[in-house]
């Protein structure tokens, strides 16, 4: 049977085949296109995509390193690390988070507020990311948690390490650590590489100063992760490196002792080795619980710290600014001697007050000290004598000496809380107040009032530099065997008393900077300080040590808060009867033992009234404690000179 349209069919068949041929050619082109694309992706751009693929694949988790410890001079840890028990939770692994929280509440001491906060975090992050329910629970809580662990799906008990301060006596100088804040991340560049969530950083004190080195090297765990960020397997671990540990010059026993003496008072104690600047003790009171800062501060406690009028968070030795009061008289006298304004035996008559351009300048002794020379002026702390001396000396020459001895600038390196203080002079006033200097202000400066501002540490340094014979020292708090130049020099001098070498050559050999023109002047001041502490009539005579071993030479001082009105002066108002806030700050500086000085001390009692009454007795006790421990200290290093 032939198809009637068979010719038609053949034509159609040819048409179809012709068109199919065109289509096939198009297909070949498309094929080439696809192969070309494969070549581009898999051969030409291979490395680019390989990198992208690895970037997808691997993710790193940083591991917080263990913070280095801070030790005292004898190796005792004053900022150490302790094991802490923590509760972590992986929300993904629990079926019912609310029920779990109810159960946790019966086991741990956590409140609803905290749970609410945790829930907020859980909602924010991925369900497999662990959250820290509590970063510090007690052992009994921890053991109870472990007991009930089978009921607590998703909860992980963790043993970790956190900062721990065994004692609060050094809280101020050590500072504290706390969680990294966003401000820390902005301001502290080193945190860029070192930041690990949940890590603590030093906020104040040594913890802050040493932070960069004490944090340690951050470790990491590298994981292969899937598209949802879930860890699939661990590829690499690096535990990091614990932070560097530091040995300080502080003596923990003295710290504790001083802190105990300052209990219930607002004040500070600084003790310094006069030859190498080692800070043996630096205590501020009242102190605070540094441990509280490590695991998130309790709001109530924080408020109580902030509200306390004794300002427990301030390190008074470093950042408290007080007029140096009569303690400056040592420098006024020295400056006057050095500038040949007075001779030691020049006298002035003290009648209790002097008048200048109609203004009255009172001596603290209402009835006056009578005829006063330099030694008596310092011994009795006669204000009128120093008004006269200051008037002759002028404030600019005084400020020069004061600055040389370390006032008016920061004493230590790297403590953000440290204040520089003020040493006023004519150009300073012009610059900062915009007024000319008045002669009356010179008189106020001569007794350490007025614009003068200093920290107790500066006063301690000043005293130390007088005590060591007038040589510049650099206070230090990190233990360092080197830079005992002054000690070496003195040792040499003791061994070779007849060495004809001129002093200045020795000085250049031992890299010392004398702060005097004539060392005899320094000795005069030291002698006057001795009389102030050890001879009848001296301002701290009542608190002397008879024992030669402990005998100290000191200078009292009080920094005025409010100027006495004439009425008050007439009524002979006593400091004790004033409201606490209006009482003068009591100051006392000293060095000991007098015969063979080793240490300098400064004591400040805020609103303590007069230095002789409240500050000197504390200094007396601390001096004894420090000197008793001197042999131990010497034995601990072997670098302390025998006869100095």
């Amino acid at each position: 049977m032939f198809n009637p349209s068979s010719g038609n069919t053949v034509i159609k068949s040819k048409l179809i085949s012709r068109r199919m041929f065109l289509l096939s050619a198009a297909k070949a082109l498309v094929m080439v296109g696809i192969i070309g694309r494969l070549v581009t992706l898999q051969i030409n751009e291979r490395s680019k995509y390989k990198t992208l693929s690895d970037k997808n694949r691997f993710r790193e988790w940083k591991l917080a390193p263990e913070r280095g410890v801070i030790k005292d001079f004898f190796g005792k840890e004053i900022a150490s690390n302790e094991q802490v028990y923590q509760v972590h939770l992986i929300p993904e692994n629990t079926k019912d988070i609310d029920r779990l929280f109810v159960r946790l509440k019966t086991i741990l001491n956590i409140n609803d507020k905290k749970l609410f906060f945790l829930k907020k975090i859980i909602n924010k992050q991925k369900p497999w990311e662990p959250i820290i329910v509590s970063d510090n629970i007690t052992w009994s809580e921890f053991s109870r948690l472990n007991l009930f662990l089978h009921e607590l799906e998703g909860v992980k008990p963790i043993v970790s390490v956190a900062r721990m301060y065994p004692d609060n006596s050094s809280a101020h100088i050590l500072g504290y650590v706390s969680q990294v804040s966003s401000k820390d991340l902005q301001t502290k560049k080193y945190l860029k590489d070192k930041h690990v969530p949940g890590m603590s950083v030093g906020k104040t004190g040594l913890e802050r100063k040493l932070d960069e080195q004490i944090i340690g090297e951050v470790g990491f765990q590298r994981y292969e992760v899937n598209a949802f960020g879930k860890r699939i397997k661990q590829i690499q671990v690096n535990q990091g490196k614990a932070g560097k540990s530091f040995k300080t010059t502080l003596d923990f026993e003295v710290q504790k002792f001083s802190s105990e003496l300052l209990k219930d008072k607002a004040g500070s104690v600084c003790v310094m080795d006069i030859y190498n600047g080692d800070i043996v003790s630096l205590v501020s009171s009242p102190t605070f619980e540094a441990n509280q800062f490590v695991h998130g501060l309790d709001k109530k406690y924080w408020k109580s710290l902030i509200k306390n009028e004794m300002r427990p968070l301030t390190n008074k030795a470093l950042s408290g600014l007080y007029p140096p009061g009569s303690t400056i008289k040592t420098l006024v006298a020295l400056s006057a001697l050095e500038n040949k304004v007075i001779r030691p035996l020049d006298t002035f008559k003290c009648t209790g007050k002097i008048e200048l351009y109609g203004e009255k300048f009172h001596c603290w002794e209402k009835d006056g000290h009578g005829i006063v020379n330099l030694r008596k002026g310092i011994q009795r702390s006669c204000d009128v004598y120093f008004y006269e001396v200051a008037r002759k000396l002028g404030v600019d020459r005084l400020s020069e000496t004061a600055k040389k001895f370390g006032l008016g600038k920061k004493v230590l390196n790297g403590f953000i809380e440290e204040k520089a203080g003020v040493v006023p002079n004519t150009s300073w006033k012009q610059k900062y107040i915009g007024q000319n200097w008045y002669l009356g202000e010179t008189l106020h400066s001569g007794i350490g009032q007025g614009y003068f501002q200093s920290t107790p540490l500066q006063l301690c340094l000043m005293t130390a530099q007088i005590a060591n014979g007038g040589y510049k020292i650099e206070p230090r708090i990190i233990f360092d065997k080197k830079n005992n130049n002054l000690r070496d020099y003195l040792k040499y001098k003791n061994n070779n008393p007849n060495d004809p070498l001129p002093t200045d050559l020795l000085v250049s050999n031992f890299d010392l900077k004398p702060l005097f023109k004539n060392q005899e002047h320094i000795n005069l001041i030291k002698d006057a300080m001795y009389s102030s502490s050890n001879e009848p009539g001296g301002t701290s005579y009542r608190h002397r040590w008879e024992n030669k071993k402990f005998t100290f030479a000191g200078k009292t001082g009080s920094s005025q808060i409010k100027k006495f009105t004439e009425a008050q002066r007439e009524a002979e108002v006593k400091q004790e009867s004033l409201p606490y806030k209006d009482r003068d700050h009591a100051l006392f500086v000293a060095f000991a033992p007098y015969q063979n000085p080793k240490y300098a001390i400064s004591v400040l009692i805020e609103h303590g009234g007069s230095g002789g009454k409240t500050a000197a007795p504390i200094a007396k006790k601390v001096i004894k404690k420090v000197l008793e421990r001197h042999d131990l200290r010497k034995a601990a290093t072997g670098t302390l000179g025998e006869n100095v």
């Binding site: 068109r19 289509l23 096939s24 696809i34 390989k50 899937n226």
Partner: protein
């Protein structure tokens, strides 16, 4: 011809088996085995749900393909319209009884499997139009009244599929139908006119697009537009393929797919997974297999005497080629993500069924190549 016909009708079973195109069968089988390997990799190197059910489907439908090969070409010719109508009814059924998954209604629940009639329609439309153009004489092909029916049978299923919504499949169905019409001799000007009409209607069409469809097209134009959203698939797919390099990362070593960066790795992105693990040469091999399959299909069309067979084989071969290249261009970032499976390789029963059925009819053209259909 008469003689030839008598020979054809008296083909013994042995003759039939011998006349099968073994190169085509082998290529399909090898591709099937490769697809099983790839599926095994998507399951993370274990025989899990996807692998097992893919193996089952491949062998069942491969068996169906061989069985269909022996069905008389006359049967396919005579039942073409009916098959189309049947598939169309199934498509209508989807509209009313379909299963909805991730926002689109594409499946019918047949208890033992979820059937996607739009996949079957790819074959049904080609069959219908092949028969239609086989029957009308060459003079009538370009007459407007004879264009009416093809347009209706083309547009009707496309609208149904596009509104599921499944734009990709709708376009591929259309492509298959248009191929038949063009091969049969419909003048280029009609395509040009309808192309112009399509472009002028495009703004209206775009207004009907779902937001995700618009976003896919925009994403295709600039994948980095939204790297974590719509562009994610294209970017991750390119990363996977590119990082495969010359020799690939190795079997079961494809980190992109293993770590779930690759979306839809069982279905649309199976080529990406394979390309990541076996590299440029692996990809070339797959392309080579597909090229052989298309070549054999077209060769069978050339050998077939009936215009119905020719039209069917050429159109199906072209459509098959389109399915392959559209999928590949999609995962290679050359086309927007429209959601079209890679024939035989991708996981999916309906697609496998439709492709095997289509191949079965091609093979029946080969076995009965000298049999006239009417």
């Amino acid at each position: 011809m008469f003689k030839a016909r008598s020979i054809q009708s008296s083909l013994s079973l042995k003759d039939k088996i011998l006349s099968i195109d073994y190169i085509l069968v082998c290529s399909i089988f090898i591709l099937g085995l490769i697809s099983i390997i790839a599926m095994y990799s998507t399951d993370g190197g274990e025989f899990k749900y996807h692998t097992n059910s893919h193996i089952l489907r491949f062998f069942v439908f491969f068996g169906m393909f061989l069985t269909l090969s022996f069905i008389q070409i006359r049967f396919w010719h005579s039942q073409s319209y009916l098959i189309y109508v049947l598939f169309f009814i199934l498509l209508l059924g989807v509209k009313y009884f379909g299963l909805t998954s991730s926002g689109s209604k594409r499946w019918l629940d047949l208890y033992f499997m979820n059937l996607q009639p739009s996949e079957l329609m790819k074959i049904g439309l080609i069959l219908f139009l092949a028969k239609y153009y086989h029957r009308i004489s060459i003079e009538n092909i370009n007459q407007l009244r004879f264009l009416f029916l093809p347009i209706v049978v083309l547009i009707a299923p496309i609208i149904l599929v596009a509104t599921q919504p499944d734009l990709g499949t709708a376009l591929l169905i259309a492509a298959g139908g248009l191929t038949v019409a063009w091969l049969a001799g419909v003048r280029v000007k009609f395509f040009a006119y309808s192309g112009l009409a399509f472009i002028s209607l495009l703004p209206i069409a775009i207004s009907f697009l779902k937001p995700y469809q618009k976003s896919r097209i925009l994403t295709f134009l600039n994948p980095e537009r939204d790297p974590l959203g719509a562009g994610y698939q294209i970017i991750q797919s390119k990363i996977a393929i590119g990082s495969g390099g010359l020799f690939g990362k190795g079997f079961l070593q494809g980190s992109q797919s293993y770590l779930d960066y690759l979306p839809e790795k069982h279905t649309d992105f199976i080529f990406t997974l394979f390309s990541e693990e076996f590299g440029f040469f692996g990809s070339l091999f797959i392309l080579f297999l597909y090229a052989i399959i298309v070549w054999r299909i077209i060769r069978i069309g050339n050998q077939t005497r009936s215009n119905f067979g020719k039209l069917y084989c050429f159109s199906f071969g072209t459509a098959f080629f389109l399915y392959v290249v559209v999928n590949m261009m999609m995962v290679l970032g050359l086309l927007p993500i429209v959601g079209s499976p890679l024939p035989i390789m991708s996981y999916g029963g309906s697609s496998m069924m439709a492709i095997m059925m289509g191949l079965g009819i091609v093979m029946s053209c080969k076995v009965y190549k000298d049999t006239p259909v009417n």
